[in-house]
Amino acid sequence: MEQPASAYFIEERHDPNETHTLSVLVANEPGVLARVIGLFSGRGYNIESLTVSETESDKHVSRITIVTTGTPMVITQIKHQLDRMIPVHRVVDMTVAGGSIERELAMVKLRASN
């Protein structure tokens, strides 16, 4: 590979991308969503979709569900990077763990004429 003049080693990676659904159990405290999103933008990971909501109010726990794409190495990195954040309880890769249900909800507005 022809290298441009650079202080960094520039390499192209050709591993195929995979789509994974991650379920992240976090402490429900201010700024926790910003930490998770900041991790994705800061390290250049993709977010295809993201939902957040409190799941166990008495335990102050929220669940963040993220659909992301990346090479297998990147997906592993994402899981580890999420897991080492202080307020993150657990990261479950639903795509690997299985047993999860995926549903999409569509709301369709129809214009009805007489």
């Binding site: 441009p4 202080a7 080693f9 402490a27 900041g38 800061g42 592993t76 897991d83 202080i86």
Partner: protein, 596 residues
């Protein structure tokens, strides 16, 4: 009776203001020194500091200086470095040291003042979103909105900073929380998030597997890093014992120097971009690699698709995200270096014997014979390599700590100064912060007042935080700033020569200060030396002075740093110093438009 209650509770010893809690928490965590700079949003805390003697405050001249000083303090003691700065610019000036500490895994606890809670979000005077700005450059951070949360957060901050993979944390405390009265409690287990539990002990099956790989190795190498230093003196002792028991060659990253002594028989020198030929060749040709507390960073690996292609790799790291980040490894072991090394040693001693690797050593010694750090002696000008050699020879018998700035001088220091013990070498490895070394030396000297603390600097780097000379004079800290003055940003120039057609765009300092006069202006001592024959005498004089010294060491201006792995090349394609003539250099960098 009910009327008397509030009166009583105010007299209870654990009822106090937020500001008092902060100072109390520092004392409870055994903090002796903090580095800081006052301002509007931290005045209540400074008022508390004024009224006690347990925690000593070191006033710096710029918040960045406080941050790097705390890093130097932390790295030379193994204790957390503590910083206190005000809101707004105080906090933003701390961003560089925080990012630096995060990259190099240095435990820092930074307390920042914040505008009163009711003004947050109002664009108040000296307001900034401190937790937002510092979120990506800390291990964790907190904004404390209720004084009754403050004690818990401070204790958790110390715990998070110092356990697992160490790192910087920020506690942002609004001014009204500093004034408010609440309940303080001493550190307790429940102060920490239940979700934070770093793994310390390595998996027993993985350790067994690692030992059997080590025992069967024909061409092994140990590659150690800053994690061994962070794991404490015990980890270095265990590493030395492992080298002794196995007879394996050992190399180290920039951050790991001193874990194994430079005078040790199995030492190959530093590896990586400016590492030794023998270390890089052994990495490339090994069959079993034991990576201890290092992270396969891009300055180490060269091109990753050609990195040590035929080896099985064992990787010990406390941070699971370091595993398989850049390089795929065969046996990952998550755990604290000292703990895992202890277990490996125990199993190895019980079940394996020293592998016979004489042919491998024979090969390594052939690479060693290439003498990749050689340079041509010169009687007229001081060569920077020679300057470091002489500095080493004149200080090695003393109780010496070395810090550096960033650039060519840093690489020469790593190559030519021999470190025998851990915690003696403080340098900005990951972030590569010019201006790190002078304030870091200040912090080291605070921790070790009677030791010799030398910042090996460059003329460009050292000017970035030169103002801390004033702090050194104020606090009677006799740091020695040994400047390899070549009038260039040497490493920038080297890259411009090698990769950008020798167009030296803005890498020459047209107007350098007179460093001798500058030292005197600060109330320190200035020395200058430009002749190889005078160098030893001048260094001896520098050591003798009990004041901060700026040593202006005039070195050969155009000397470059070799050996070197050119960009896009592998470990076995190094460019050696005595072979780096124009033609060889052009060929090595042929992919670039450089020397066309």
């Amino acid at each position: 009776m009910s009327d008397a209650k509030p009166q009583e509770s105010r007299d209870l010893p654990n009822q106090m203001t937020g500001a008092a809690m902060i100072v109390r928490a520092l004392a409870d965590h055994g903090v002796k020194h903090i580095f800081g700079y006052p301002g509007g949003a931290v005045l209540p805390i400074y008022d508390e500091i004024f009224q006690q003697e347990e925690v000593q405050h070191i006033l710096v001249r710029h918040e960045q200086g406080a941050g790097h000083a705390a890093e130097g303090y932390a790295r030379s003691t193994g204790l957390p470095g503590v910083v206190l700065v005000t809101s707004g610019p105080g906090a933003t000036n701390m961003v560089t040291p925080l990012a630096d500490a995060l990259m190099d895994s240095i435990p820092l606890v930074c307390i920042t003042g914040q505008v009163p809670t009711h003004l947050i979000g109002n664009d108040a005077f000296q307001e900034c979103d401190t937790v937002g700005i510092t979120r990506p450059c800390t291990k964790h951070n907190w904004l404390v909105r209720d004084v009754n949360d403050l004690a818990k957060v401070l204790h958790e901050a110390f715990y998070v900073a110092t356990t697992g993979r160490p790192g910087p944390v920020v506690v942002d405390v609004p001014k009204d929380v500093q004034f408010a009265t609440g309940t303080y409690h001493p550190p307790r287990k429940s102060d920490v998030h239940v979700s934070y539990a770093p793994r310390v002990k390595g998996d027993a099956t993985a350790i067994r597997k690692a030992v059997s790989m080590l025992a069967g190795a024909k061409r092994p190498i140990i590659y150690s890093g800053g994690g061994v230093i962070n794991a404490g003196v015990a980890a270095s002792k265990l590493l030395r014992e492992l080298v002794e028991v196995t007879g394996f060659p050992i190399t180290s990253t920039l951050m790991g120097l001193g874990a194994y002594p430079a005078s040790g028989p199995n030492w190959l020198g530093m590896l990586g971009m400016h590492g030794t030929y023998e270390a890089n060749m052994a990495m490339h040709d090994c069959d079993v690699m034991l990576c201890v507390g290092a992270r396969f960073d891009d300055r180490i690996t060269g091109r990753t698709d050609a990195f040590s292609p035929n080896s099985k790799k064992i990787h010990i790291d406390i941070d699971p995200s370091s595993i398989n980040k850049n390089i795929r490894v065969d046996v990952p072991i998550i755990g604290d270096c000292a703990n895992v090394l202890g277990d490996i040693l125990q199993v190895f001693k019980a079940e394996a014997k020293k592998p016979a690797i004489d042919p491998w050593w024979f090969e390594i010694n052939r690479w060693r014979a290439r003498n990749s750090l050689a340079f041509k002696a010169n009687n007229d000008v001081i060569l920077p390599q020679y300057a470091i050699q002489r500095l080493y020879e004149n200080t090695k018998h003393l109780d010496t700590y070395i810090t550096t700035e960033v650039g060519q001088h840093q690489m020469w220091a790593a190559q030519f100064y021999g470190f025998e013990e851990p915690h003696r070498w403080m340098t900005s490895g990951g972030l590569g912060t010019m201006g790190y070394g002078l304030p870091a030396a200040l912090g080291v000297q605070v921790a070790h007042p009677d030791s010799l603390v030398i910042d090996i600097g460059g003329d460009a780097s050292v000017q970035m935080t030169m103002q801390e000379m004033s702090a050194a004079v104020q606090h009677d800290l006799p740091i020695k700033i040994f400047i390899l003055n070549n009038q260039y940003m040497g490493m920038v120039r080297q890259w411009q020569q090698l990769l950008h057609g020798n167009r030296l765009s803005h890498s020459y300092s047209e107007a350098l200060p007179d460093f001798v006069k500058l030292a005197e202006a600060y109330g320190g001592v200035g020395l200058q030396c430009s002749k190889p024959g005078d160098l030893d005498g001048a260094i001896k004089e520098m050591i003798k002075v009990r004041k901060p010294v700026l040593f202006d060491c005039r070195v050969a201006n155009l000397e470059n740093c070799f050996p070197m792995i050119p960009s896009g090349k592998a470990h076995n394609e190094m460019l050696l110093p005595l072979e780096a003539n124009d033609e060889a250099t052009a060929k090595a960098f042929a992919g670039g438009k450089a020397l066309v």
